[in-house]
């Protein structure tokens, strides 16, 4: 075990205050309810194309992002991006309106589910090409170091993406140049229908940086406090100028890869077992109750979040589509 794993095992779970735990719970619940609603809107034909839900993986984005400094750190991910944006506190209305392709959407309806960005929140997308965000994230980290702004980049990618060549090109340069970046592999067990063991010679993804001397940490991605504890270790290491860290977050997606999914590559029992025994939200909820939170208070929270999500859905349904002239805007920034 290397130093980071030792540091993590010394304190595997973050000692959250009651307020912190409550905040994590609320954020995870917001993602869950938002995604459930997005699934419904998709069924109604209000959302089109590819729509990848984050249900089951909520603890990853919430735990990791809570350790970042929003004023200086940047985040980048792939197409399964709604959860990361919500964890960043971006307004659910503009996210949902993007999913429905409306002018009020965060990308003015021109990006869709897979392509959302918020420069204001230092959220750099939202990328549809599997693995691209890893090199782009290394570039964001390069910019942090170049400007000496003290920031770091967190680049999320999947277990499938982890087999892309450019990931290793980026690992090499990030380690060589000691870029301030945390590589986060969200190992949800599958890349579309391909189970990790059918695609990967080394299934322990945290070891994938070993050839580049990048320290790795395996993390239980179904426990928000464990995720946060690992994030703290990683952030401290990277912030100190030591170069990249690789986190493997073991997690699970309950829903299909995208909205159309044959659900033939894994058993119903496997999914049910994860939902029943490892759900990150249930887990946090139990912990809150153990700390004395009442069932009524938790119900109130759920109600409030449902209302927020309903308002977002109404907004997304009722706001206008982009005006046809928008077709031609933002192709280039300047006119020549």
């Amino acid at each position: 075990m290397d130093a980071l794993q030792i540091a993590h095992s010394a304190q595997p779970r973050y000692a959250a205050s009651d307020e912190e735990l409550l905040k994590f719970y609320e954020q995870m619940l917001l993602i869950r309810r938002f995604e459930e609603r997005a699934g419904q809107l998709y069924g109604l034909g209000l959302i089109g194309g590819f729509c990848h839900l984050y249900i089951g993986q909520e603890a990853v984005a919430v735990g990791l992002q809570s350790a970042l400094d929003g004023a200086r750190d940047s985040v980048i991910t792939g197409y399964r991006d709604h959860g990361h944006m919500l964890a960043y506190g971006i307004d659910p209305k503009v996210i949902m309106a993007e999913l429905t392709g409306r002018a009020a959407g965060i990308s003015q309806g021109k990006g869709g589910s897979m392509h959302m960005f918020s420069i204001e929140h230092k959220f750099y997308g939202g990328h549809g090409i599997v693995g691209a965000q890893v090199s782009l994230g290394a570039g964001l980290a390069f910019a942090h170091r170049y400007r000496e702004d003290g920031g770091l980049c967190m680049a999320y990618f999947g277990d499938g993406a982890a087999n892309q060549g450019q990931v290793y090109e980026s690992f090499n340069m990030a380690a060589l140049w000691k870029l301030p970046i945390i590589f986060v592999i969200e190992n949800n067990g599958y890349a579309m229908g391909t189970a990790v063991k059918r695609s990967s010679a080394e299934t322990h993804f945290y070891r994938r940086g070993a050839a580049f001397r990048i320290p790795g940490m395996p993390v239980n991605g179904m426990d928000v406090l464990e995720v946060r504890a690992a994030a703290n270790v990683a952030v401290e290491y990277v912030r100190a100028g030591n170069g990249p860290v690789l986190l493997e977050l073991n997690t699970y997606r309950y829903r299909g890869h995208s909205m159309s999914d044959p659900a033939k590559y894994r058993s119903r029992e496997e999914v049910q077992e994860m939902r029943d025994k490892h759900d990150p939200i249930d887990h946090a909820r139990d912990e809150l109750m153990k700390r004395g939170m009442s069932e009524d208070a938790l119900k109130d929270i759920d109600k409030r979040i449902r209302a927020t999500v309903s308002a977002a859905a109404d907004f997304a349904e009722n706001s206008p589509e982009p005006a046809p002239p928008e077709l031609y805007t933002d192709v280039l920034v300047e006119s020549y």
Binding site: S107, G111, F117, S135, L136, A143, D330, L332, E334, Y336
Partner: protein, 454 residues
């Protein structure tokens, strides 16, 4: 018996070079394989190796001599049984104390007949002669001085001084933070450059040649070109991807392709392909300042050519504007990059036959200066497009389509294309020559659309 040691050619196209350094002196005994001297061209340094045993007789060309013609006797060697003259060593030369290029790229620049400067200097401005290579370097250096966000990254751009010496001297002036050697990982470093631009910097990403950028084309197109649109105008990507493009000399199919039509087909990119030093400098400076991602296509065969350039503090050429290189009334030749030199040569030949050709250099391929093309067509009513590249789905086909769609009434003859042959570029010298366009072919194509003058 004395053997003559002659100035070697480092490549099939080299005509002259600099005798940089003698590593032996008169009277030294040498054996086969010993390094005798270092020979330099504008692009490369090579070691000159002895093939025979013997004693160095007279050194006839002093070290530091420039412009030594290939074949000039530079020293004599006395030996027992002389055989042949030394050959250039294939191994890399030892680095000099200052960061110096260590290895020659496979090909050599041949400065061709120097075309006249295209644009007349503004009255009163001093002109100086520079190579395209120097103009590109100066553009980067000036922009790096002006804006601390600008940096250059790529393979061999720093310590080696650029595979084609385009980044020569930048490391010395700007240091390793801003002049960055990358590993040979085009996909990865194109992504890093693109991400750095998204993060607020102004990267210049050099590809050793654009042939290797095919490994990076995903980031150029999917990441750099599309993000501003996909983000509703939030996320800019002011990156410049630059490097040599098109056929070089005798490097075969994988190293000889013109990618201009590929990139020019993509909305969200600016694509520039300059010809002379003034455009190389002025357009590269504009590219670096642009808020948009730019693909900047250079040409290795033009790097060493010299042109006049106005001496100005800030020589900027606007993106998106074609220029008339030569006025004419009978026919228009539309071209870009290395094709401009050939078209001007063809125009000269045609003028002797009484055909006055107008030559248009597109300069920017996206956005295309359609107005310039159509205006010239309206004037001459005949057009030929000359392109050093394949004919199918080319810039030439685009110009032909433009004339059909928007210039039909001005056409007195079909618009013809003169492009490379539609084959991978062969290695054999004779086949290569047949495959590539030249001035004669351009002139011949122009004659087809021009009525015979009496």
């Amino acid at each position: 018996m004395a053997l003559e040691l002659k100035m070697p050619a480092l490549s099939p196209t080299m005509e002259e070079g600099t005798l940089a350094r003698w590593l032996v002196k008169e009277g030294d005994a040498v054996k086969s394989g010993d390094i005798l001297a270092e020979i330099e061209t504008d692009k490369a340094t090579m070691e000159f190796e002895a093939v025979d045993e013997g004693t160095i007789g007279k050194i006839l060309i002093a070290e530091g001599s420039e412009g030594v013609k290939v074949g000039t006797v530079i020293a004599t060697l006395t030996g027992d049984e002389g055989v042949s003259v030394p050959a250039p060593a294939s191994g890399p030369a030892k680095p000099a104390s200052a960061p110096a290029p260590r290895k020659a790229p496979a090909t050599e620049v041949k400065p061709e007949a120097k075309p006249a400067p295209a644009s007349k200097p503004a009255p009163g401005s001093n002109m100086k002669t520079v190579t395209v290579r120097e103009a590109l370097r100066d553009a980067m250096a000036e922009e790096m001085r002006r804006d601390s966000r600008v940096f250059v990254m790529g393979e061999e751009v720093a310590e080696y001084q650029g595979a084609y010496k385009v980044t020569q001297g930048l490391l010395e002036e700007f240091g390793p933070k801003r002049v960055i050697d990358t590993p040979i990982t085009e996909y990865g470093f194109a992504g890093i450059g693109t991400g750095a631009a998204m993060g607020g910097l102004r990267p210049i990403v050099e590809f050793m040649t654009f042939n290797f950028a095919m490994q990076a084309i995903d980031h150029i197109i999917n990441s750099a070109a599309k993000t501003n649109y996909m983000s509703g105008g939030q996320m800019r990507c002011p990156v410049v991807f630059r490097g040599p493009n098109g056929a070089a000399t005798r490097v075969g199919a994988q190293h000889s392709q013109n990618y201009a039509p590929w990139y020019a087909s993509v909305p969200g990119l600016v694509v520039i392909a300059p010809y002379d030093a003034s455009d190389a400098k002025g357009l590269l400076k504009s590219a670096i300042r642009s808020e948009d991602p730019v693909v900047f296509l250079e040409n290795e065969l033009v790097y060493g050519r010299s042109f006049e350039l106005p001496e100005m503090d800030d020589h900027i050429i606007p993106i998106g504007k074609a220029r008339i290189m030569r006025e004419g009334s009978d026919v228009t030749i539309v071209t870009y990059s290395i094709g401009v030199g050939m078209a001007l040569e063809a125009a000269k030949v045609l003028a002797e036959e009484g055909i006055e050709a107008e030559v248009i250099d597109l300069r920017t391929l996206r956005p295309l200066d359609r107005a310039a093309v159509l205006t010239s067509l309206a004037k001459t009513n005949r057009m030929v497009v000359a392109e050093e590249g394949w004919p199918t789905c080319s810039i030439a086909s685009e110009i032909v389509a433009l004339c059909m769609e928007q210039g039909f009434d001005d056409l007195d003859a079909p618009v013809l294309r003169v492009c490379n042959e539609d084959v991978p570029l062969p290695y054999a010298a004779n086949l290569e020559k047949i495959a590539l366009i030249d001035a004669a072919r351009i002139a011949e194509t122009v004659r087809k659309v021009c009525p015979r003058k009496a």
